[in-house]
Symmetry: C2
Subunit: 123 residues, 2 copies
Amino acid sequence: MAKPRTVQMVERLRDLQVSSLDIEGSALVSLDGLIMASSLPPVVEEDRVSAMSAAMLSLGERIAGELGRGVLEQVYVRGQDGYVVLRAVGEEAVLTVLARDTAKLGLLLLDMRRAAEDLANIV
Amino acid sequence: MAKPRTVQMVERLRDLQVSSLDIEGSALVSLDGLIMASSLPPVVEEDRVSAMSAAMLSLGERIAGELGRGVLEQVYVRGQDGYVVLRAVGEEAVLTVLARDTAKLGLLLLDMRRAAEDLANIV
């Protein structure tokens, strides 16, 4: 019997974290800001991640549109202590990743692209 | 006699565009969303760039703070047709760059860092 989709999604998020040790947590969030699956450290609240993801996705879409950049693909926010990266997963969801400041951005974006493709097939 | 600061700022923005042909336009925006200097193509409205920059900066700061990423350094939005990248210029302003989808992100971020340092000295 196939595993439930939520289990498959969480497993895929955990695989992402195993592949990149600089990833501290990740979540799959629906376009209206609800958590679909997550693998976050205990100090990070799910609700906070989902709310911030939805807000950033909405503004990112508006900016990409208003400034002639086309359909939104990705948003990244870099702070002194690390990154938050968002990437579309199909047309239904967004993958949000929290990474340390030591993360290699090129590798992180590649791993996220692969995870997003897999997750789109599960969602 | 030294050149007026606005002229110096616009010249520095133009230098940035000469260094990276994939940059379509750039603007220096105050933290409250007002244009300080710009070098934008005619089709892009200054007001739109400044409003979007201020909105993204504000949300980026909130997200970096709420999700434990520290002080905001940079935000980038990638659409199918190109990038919008924002970077802090000192504590008073933000440098916003519009780039084509063919831009090499590593080079773009490096050139922006140098421009931001120079602009911080002019502002």
